[in-house]
């Protein structure tokens, strides 16, 4: 069963500069700490591997950030080696690296590919110089073109581009141009994110002070709908609220297997500062700061699985919560949705028994529908995709 298949997330909290909208756990100007950080990371991996009851089989690894592409190949190699020692790698591993255009070079990408990386996720965000400037991104569009070209040459046949829409001052035409240019690069995968105002970011402060206009939700909705159609025409399949993938020759799609793990509410381990995990009935989170993380890992010894010395919170997930979370994340999958059959298999109770009222209410509102072969797939309607919160919130809380 897939149940036993784990995923691993590694957090790399370094960036050259903090983008104006970003509230991720990342730090600028700390690059000198990379070697010590990687050492701590390897130690956390070892300790977790040792504490696990039996050798875990893993099928996806995701280096996220921050900017993982700031790590030199030897550091990435160390981490992968630690992982190989501690865990059993499955046959078809998906190993993703998040990268910022402008931090990549042809030789670097070749080495990555040789190390085993086979998926590259590029933070393109926009093709427009004004957008990029407002977002305080540290690259230009031509660097995206270069990065994709070099990635292809290095052998990557699974490349994702992240794009942002709903940027202040961004017009529909500008967004259309950005998406058009992205499609021109023929990526296997696209993530389109509506810009969200996060607490404590420069963006939020600028908005409060009236320096930039408030996002226009209706325009953002138009952009999303336009993009859905455009991508459909271009042969991309939407499989999650913000994610699209091209079809492979075998009929499957280039969906990100690692992220599917989250949305299917399957187990994963998180290593690195601020990384989260979900395994063996617990959700865990590691300490946030780089130095604190290094200190925790250096000082500590093994802890009961799935915690490590770097863990600062570990929350038991009871069955009810697990069911709620399964709905909240599963309904993000726009095609696959939540299968009534699999829900029953997993929890021993049927969807109708547990969430009958909520489902009936949301189907009545036209936000959820039953689909699939036996009509046993519960998923968002087309309209529901943009109103996901109205749906998800019915399944959380009490």
């Amino acid at each position: 069963m897939m149940m036993a298949n784990y995923s691993i997330y590694l957090h790399i909290p370094f960036c050259h500069h903090r983008c104006s909208y970003c509230d991720f756990n990342t730090y600028a100007g700390q690059e000198q700490r990379i070697p010590a950080y990687v050492e701590a990371l390897c130690r956390e991996i070892n300790l977790a591997a040792q504490s696990s009851p039996n050798p875990l089989a893993i099928h996806t690894i995701f280096f996220g950030g921050g900017t993982p592409s700031l790590l030199p190949p030897e550091q990435l190699d160390k981490i992968l080696t630690a992982l190989r020692q501690g865990f059993t790698f499955q046959q078809d591993m998906e190993i993703t690296l998040e990268a910022n255009p402008g931090t990549l070079a042809p030789g670097y990408l070749e080495t990555l590919h040789e190390l085993g990386f086979n998926r590259l996720s590029l933070g393109m965000q926009s093709a427009n110089p004004e957008d990029l400037a407002l977002l305080e991104r540290q690259h230009q569009y031509f660097e995206v073109i270069q990065s994709v070209k070099w990635a292809r040459q290095a052998g990557f046949n699974n490349v994702n581009l992240d794009l942002i829409f709903g940027i202040p001052h961004q017009t529909m035409e500008r967004w259309q141009a950005t998406l058009g240019l992205a499609l021109g690069l023929n990526p296997e995968h696209l993530s389109l994110y509506a810009l969200t105002l996060e607490h404590g970011t420069p963006f939020q402060r600028w908005t409060e002070r009236g320096l930039i206009p408030l996002a226009d939700d209706d325009l953002a909705a138009d952009m999303y709908e336009w993009a859905s159609e455009r991508l459909d025409t271009a042969g991309y399949c939407q499989y999650e609220i913000s994610n699209w993938a091209r079809r492979k020759t075998d009929g499957d799609i280039y969906a990100c297997l690692h992220n599917l793990q989250y949305w299917r509410n399957q187990p994963y381990l998180g290593f690195g500062a601020g990384a989260h995990g979900s395994a063996a009935g617990y959700r865990t989170a590691d300490v946030l700061g780089i130095q604190a993380y290094i200190a925790h890992c250096a000082g500590g010894s093994g802890k009961p699985f799935p915690t490590t010395p770097a863990t600062i919170t570990s929350t038991p997930i009871d069955r009810r919560t697990e069911m709620q979370e399964t709905m909240m994340v599963g309904l993000r999958l726009t095609e696959e949705g939540v299968s009534a059959r699999r829900f029953k298999q997993r929890f021993g109770e049927s969807l109708a028994e547990v969430f009958g009222n909520e489902i009936a209410y949301l189907v009545g509102l036209g936000l959820l529908e039953w689909a699939g072969e036996d009509n046993e797939t519960l998923r968002l309607t087309r309209r529901g995709r943009l109103l996901g919160n109205q749906v998800f919130m019915q399944f959380v809380g009490d």
Partner: protein
């Protein structure tokens, strides 16, 4: 020995430092040790402490050794300064022979200074003026002493200047109470007459009556009679406040204390009633108090229908401690089952609302406050209408009368113009002006109460940078050209949003209300049209467009817990809204009519 008793209250304008002065006296007399001392000890309710405002009068007994070596029993009653709680002051006065009139040295004489002073003079009390807050740099004690002197005739030098905060000269205040306030007169062996001036409810001891013994004495074993109610009872406990309830065996003439009655309802033990002995009753009760009449009314509804019973219980309990709160069941098409409540004023209403929410943990919707109208209909009947939605059809109505108030505003003279402007915009009629002190003007108007409850005080404060203060009293009912402003949401008339306005204001208020509601009602899953109409004519319309986008763009492994919390929060917010038909309306919307001026 009633000779060594002094009964006095502290009166002042709001925030001039009554409760702080009480603190110092409690400390200096050793009633409360320094260790037990907190700020404004007598403000025991959570809400009083949080807002820094006295809501309920409280009594406390202190034992004071004067400079002459004698020990005196001082009974202090701290009173609220806010105009809504005037009646608390009027009751307290009846239990006293003297009043400390506190005036803030930085603010000078304000509206409730005068209002409370006049009440105290009416009750024949000896007034001991004190000037407070002399520690502040902005204090103007000389000027304020002059002003008080011209009001009371006391020579300015004789007025005690204190800092209640740091205790300066508070000892002189204690001495002055002993020397200037007369001891109570009354015979211990006459038939018992004890006046109830306040009460609170105790779960174990029943209604606890605060009383002042005017004649005779009370023993724990006595059978007492409430003269107006005609109820006999054996006290559960008698005693004094020191400052907590402190049981005693006997209360004698001149004492201020309490009787725990064991009664379960306040209606049997009303403030203003007189206690006497069942065995040897007094000939007549003491003159009671004027009954307080609620001035503003609002609908109070549970957000969830199933909370109706809890809301009812909570109102019942609140009424036990607050006889000025009245309520009766009411139904609304929009809000279903709830209560129409009557309050002394907006501040009182706000306090009840907060207590229901916090002490009783209820989610409630409160509709915009309204006054009580008198409506003469064709049948010749006069209806009392306190809920705008209930105003009959125009064809039925012969005339509508509304309550008018007399209002006094005291302010530095420089704000004369802007106050005039404000009052006349609100249909006020100028009556007279007076200059109680140099640079201070007192302006008097007649004005409809309905105009005062709509943000009048906030507007006055902002126009005068906080310097103006006001007081008001009911004058009479007057007829005017008043119409019902109705609001339709999604095609349905929402009774709880209706208002009664002057015909001349209907048009612009209708427009402003629709604009305001459009900004308050969140976008729903469908378009929601909003309309205002008056006298059967649509005045204004707008549409809250359907929401199109409401989704978290990202949700990955690291976010799940945080995103879930966000969703839970959003869900709670949604739950707090009231479903009217199929539209979710936030609580704020029902108050929108009060906030039109901001647009």
């Amino acid at each position: 020995m009633s000779d060594s008793i002094r009964n006095f209250c502290i009166i002042a304008h709001v925030d001039h430092g009554k409760s702080t002065l009480a603190d110092r006296m409690l400390q200096m007399t050793g009633t409360i040790s320094d260790r037990e001392m907190t700020e404004q000890v007598l403000d025991t309710m959570d809400l009083e402490r949080e807002k820094g405002v006295t809501i309920k009068a409280s009594a406390v007994r202190m034992s004071y050794t004067a400079k002459n070596g004698r020990v005196y029993e001082l009974n202090l009653i701290d009173t609220p300064g806010h105009v809504d709680f005037n009646y608390e002051v009027s009751r307290a006065l009846l239990a006293c022979e003297g009043a400390l009139l506190v005036v803030d040295a930085t603010q000078g004489i304000e509206a409730q200074t005068l209002a409370n002073l006049y009440m105290a003079l009416d009750a024949d009390l000896v007034i001991v003026p004190v000037i407070n807050k002399i520690d502040l740099i902005s204090a103007r004690p000389d000027e304020v002493a002059q002003d008080i002197s011209s009001l009371l005739g006391t020579s300015p030098e004789k007025i005690i200047r204190i800092s209640a905060k740091d205790g300066t000269n508070v000892d002189q205040v204690l001495e002055s109470i002993v020397c200037d306030v007369p001891p109570p007169i009354g015979e211990d062996d006459a038939p018992l007459q004890a006046l109830i001036f306040d009460s609170h409810y105790d779960a174990y001891k029943g209604v606890v009556a605060y009383l002042r013994v005017f004649a005779g004495s009370i023993h724990l074993s006595d059978t007492l009679r409430l003269m107006a109610a005609g109820v006999d009872l054996k006290p559960v406990e008698i005693g004094v406040f020191a400052p907590d309830m402190h049981p005693m065996e006997i209360l004698t003439a001149g004492d201020v204390g309490y009787v725990a009655t064991g009664l379960k309802t306040v209606s049997e033990c009303r403030v203003g009633d007189t206690f006497t002995h069942a065995a040897q009753p007094a000939e007549a009760p003491l003159p009671g108090y004027r009954k307080v009449k609620p001035m503003v009314f609002a609908g109070v509804y549970p957000v969830e229908g199933e909370d109706y019973g809890n809301l009812k219980d909570a109102l019942e309990k609140l009424q036990l401690n607050d006889a000025s709160l009245v309520y009766s069941p009411e139904t609304s098409q929009a809000l279903n089952f709830g209560f129409r409540c009557g309050f002394l004023g907006l501040f009182h209403m706000e306090i009840i609302q907060e207590r229901l929410e916090r002490e009783y943990d209820l989610d409630i919707v409160v509709t915009a406050p309204s006054v009580e109208y008198e409506v003469l209909v064709r049948s010749g009947e006069t209806l009392q209408i306190s809920s705008p939605a209930k105003l009959p059809d125009e064809a039925e109505i012969l005339e509508v009368r509304e309550p008018w108030m007399k209002i006094q505003i005291i302010s530095p003279t420089e704000y004369y113009g802007t106050i005039m402007d404000l009052a006349t915009r609100r249909r006020g009629i100028f009556r007279e002006q007076d200059f109680p002190a140099p640079n201070r003007v007192q302006l008097s108007f007649d004005i409809p109460l309905s105009e005062i409850i709509v943000d009048f005080f906030d507007e006055l404060k902002s126009r005068t940078r906080g310097y103006a203060s006001m007081d008001y009293q009911f004058a009479e009912y007057r007829r005017d050209d008043l119409v019902k402003l109705e609001v339709l949401v999604n095609g349905e008339s929402v009774d709880a949003l209706a208002a009664i306005v002057h015909r001349q204001d209907a048009y612009h208020k209708g427009q402003a209300l629709v604009t305001k509601l459009k900004s308050i009602i969140p976008r729903q899953l469908f378009d929601v049209p909003i309309q205002a109409s008056a006298a059967g004519r649509v005045i204004s319309r707008a549409t809250v467009k359907a929401v199109r986008k409401d989704v978290l763009a990202k949700c990955y492994g690291g976010d799940i817990t945080r995103k879930k919390k966000l969703l839970e929060k959003q869900k709670r917010g949604k739950k707090r809204m009231k479903m009217v038909g199929s539209v979710e309306i936030p609580q704020e919307a029902f108050m929108a009519i009060l906030r039109l001026e901001e647009e």
